[in-house]
């Protein structure tokens, strides 16, 4: 060791680290850290109400006072305080977000618990939350399962033809979700090849994706599985290459069935990778948004990300406050999803030291 000892302990002094890390650190602080803070601030403001004034109008029959919008004053106010008026947690609890008052009202007014749930799930935020969670809940496990089966299956074919097969398998993953969902949508739409044939088969000319909420949800979930499975496949496939041979061979000699071998040798070996894929897939699924545009499914399926998008592309005035409040709550959702992983990493980090 001798002369090398201090180097091996910490190869890079703090000052060098700082200069190497500065550019990327600055980029992340300015364009990921600050925007989150900016979103937080915006969520406490709401767009200005229109300024109104009383106009007294007199005609031979007498005078009437009417209230009209003062456009000039409104513009002036908007320019003076572009962020809007301070609203505190007002946006968070309004009808389009947590809807506290509405829920209280429903609780007191509805007779059965079912009716209450029904009412609540019709509120925009809860509707979107439920779709987002349903999507995550159905897509993530199926992605893991399908990815694993494809990996096992491809792993069993001759090495020579695997290359092209892998290429075909990863295609759904490398296109952007908007394009992927459009390509599927054009097939299953009532005028597309699959949609038209299902209509004929069922003998129902009105059967289409848009005709039922359940069908739309199922389609988007199937799309999600189609789009994300290749990722799980690739990771599992690579992990399968590292499974040690000896225990497998020993198991075969001992007469273990194929299923037993997978359950007791292969799965335990690739377990850390399964958690990794599940986490990544969960994070990606939670931000589901582009397929809703691709499938033009806004009517029956809205996700949290879609709600934010919808506020930001609002025609008249961009609803910064509303979008920001939904964003903050989405971030809280992500934090809840990530918490178990972070806690685990923290514990491992503690014990490693």
């Amino acid at each position: 060791m001798g002369i090398n000892a201090p180097l091996t302990q910490n190869l890079m002094p703090n000052k060098t680290f700082f200069w190497f890390f500065l550019p990327t650190g600055l980029a992340m602080i300015l364009f990921i850290g600050l925007p989150i803070i900016s979103t937080g601030i915006q969520s406490f403001y709401a767009q200005h109400d229109q300024v109104v004034k009383e106009v007294k109008k007199c005609d031979p029959f007498g005078c009437t006072v009417s209230i009209v919008v003062d456009n000039e004053e409104t513009t002036k106010l908007r320019e003076a305080k572009p962020l809007g008026k301070f609203n505190g947690f007002g946006t968070y609890v309004d009808r389009n977000h947590l809807a506290i008052d509405e829920i209280k009202k429903f609780w007191n007014e509805t007779e059965s618990f079912g009716a209450f749930v029904d009412q609540v799930t019709n509120l925009p935020f809860y509707k979107a939350l439920i779709f987002t969670l349903t999507y995550c809940l159905f897509v993530t496990p199926n992605v893991l399962l399908l990815g694993f089966i494809i990996a096992l299956s491809l792993n069993a074919v001759a090495r020579k033809i695997r290359g092209p097969l892998i290429f075909g398998t990863i295609l759904p993953m490398i296109v952007t979700p908007l394009v992927g969902s459009l390509v599927l949508f054009w097939m299953i739409d009532s005028q597309g090849i699959i949609g038209a044939n299902i209509q004929n088969l069922m003998n129902d000319p009105y059967l289409s994706l848009k005709s039922s909420k359940t069908l739309t949800w199922i389609t988007i979930i199937i799309y999600g599985i189609w789009h994300h499975s290749p990722f799980a496949f690739v990771v599992f496939y690579a992990a399968l290459q590292t499974v040690p041979q000896e225990p497998v061979e020993a198991a075969i000699i001992d007469g273990a069935s194929r299923f037993q071998r997978i359950k007791h040798i292969v799965l335990p070996h690739i377990y850390p990778v399964v958690t990794f894929v599940a986490l990544i897939s969960l994070m990606d699924n939670f931000r589901v948004f582009e397929p809703i545009i691709g499938f033009s499914a806004e009517g029956s399926a809205q996700s949290l990300s879609w709600l934010i998008y919808d506020n930001l592309v609002n025609e008249e005035v961009i609803l910064f406050g509303s979008a920001a409040a939904t964003s903050m709550m989405t971030i809280v959702g992500i934090a809840i999803l990530l918490a178990p992983v972070l806690i685990r990493t923290w514990k491992e980090f503690k014990t490693a030291r």
């Binding site: 180097l7 302990q9 910490n10 190869l11 890079m12 680290f17 190497f20 890390f21 550019p23 990327t24 980029a27 992340m28 364009f31 990921i32 850290g33 925007p35 989150i36 900016s38 979103t39 915006q42 572009p82 962020l83 299956s153 069993a156 074919v157 892998i166 398998t169 295609l171 490398i174 952007t176 979700p177 394009v179 390509v183 054009w186 097939m187 005028q191 090849i193 189609w226 990722f231 690739v234 496939y237 690579a238 041979q245 075969i252 194929r258 850390p272 990778v273 990794f276 994070m283 939670f286 931000r287 948004f289 582009e290 033009s296 934010i308 930001l312 979008a323 964003s327 971030i331 990530l338």
Partner: protein, 293 residues
């Protein structure tokens, strides 16, 4: 897992083959179908009366006199100004990839060589940043960008995409740098190199596979992005993906849906070719973080 001992029964083999064929059909057929349909007229590809028209090209024959037509492509690229969108995509992609790699290699190298506690926390922070839905970040950008009057232009979008891309690039390159033995830089430092010289002349030359992989992923992010480009660019500067969406929105025009179809094919083809060429790197990138756990 080619075990000499492991004999598969014929029925299992057949089942496996059928499964793979079915899966590949599900995975690839939509793309093949869209490619095929992009050379038809709308009445054929989106046929109300008979889906077989898409194959027999019934209306395409009537409308254009041939079984295949490239009308959708020519119109989308000229009249639909798809050429402008692809030009913008190229600009955005080139800049995002080069800046991402520059920042990412420096940062990831530092992270991989530091044993300080903060290096660990930076990686965790990057993981959290990676999890942020892009739309929540965009809702943070819009207002300040309007105020600073930098909304709508390409440079803003490029910087934003670079930043959004950093967490993933850092993690990916970090796992690659970890595989380069520390003894390499140590010997260079003892020989009197500065850290930057060691990085530039000793480490980077052996890092090319990792850099190519990270570059490919930055490219895919920049090329495929919809959320950021659709909301941060004005109509004039739209890249390909938001352009495709804008064709969908104006459905009244007869030709526009076919513009979208041909634009989807035009945008997807280069990506597929790239991935075909760099398949090995894509797969090593996806697994780099994973296999190590």
């Amino acid at each position: 897992m080619d075990y000499g001992l492991d004999r598969k029964s014929t029925s299992l083999k057949t089942f496996n083959t059928i499964f793979i064929i079915v899966w590949l059909l599900i995975a690839c057929f939509p793309f093949i179908w869209t490619f095929w349909g992009s050379f038809k007229v709308r009445a054929d590809f989106f046929s109300r009366s008979d889906w077989w028209y898409a194959i027999s090209a019934f209306n395409t024959l009537i409308e254009t006199g041939g079984k295949f037509t490239t009308d959708a492509y020519t119109q989308a690229w000229t009249e639909g100004e798809f050429w402008k969108a692809s030009k913008n995509t190229i600009i955005v992609t080139v800049f995002v990839v080069s800046i991402s790699l520059f920042l990412g290699t420096l940062g990831a190298y530092a992270l991989s060589r530091s044993t300080e506690r903060y290096a660990f926390w930076i990686l965790i922070a990057a993981l959290i940043f990676r999890a942020m839905p892009h739309i929540t970040l965009v809702s943070g950008y819009l207002f300040p960008f309007f105020q600073l009057q930098i909304w709508g232009i390409l440079p803003t979008t490029i910087v934003v995409l670079v930043a959004i891309n950093q967490p993933f690039t850092l993690w990916l390159l970090y796992s690659f740098f970890k595989t380069v033995p520390k003894e390499l830089d140590e010997s260079a430092l003892i020989d009197g190199c500065s850290y930057f010289q060691a990085f530039r002349h000793i480490i980077m030359p052996v890092m090319w596979p990792g850099v190519i992989t990270a570059g490919l992923f930055s490219l895919m992010l920049a090329y495929n992005d919809f959320t950021v480009t659709a909301l941060l660019l004005n109509q004039e500067n739209h890249t390909m993906v938001p352009k495709i969406q804008s064709y969908l929105g104006t459905n009244q025009h007869e030709g526009n849906l076919m513009w979208a179809v041909s634009a989807v094919v035009s945008a997807t083809a280069p990506l597929f070719m790239l991935v075909m060429f760099f398949q090995r790197q894509v797969i090593s990138g996806l697994t780099a973080g994973a296999v190590k756990g």
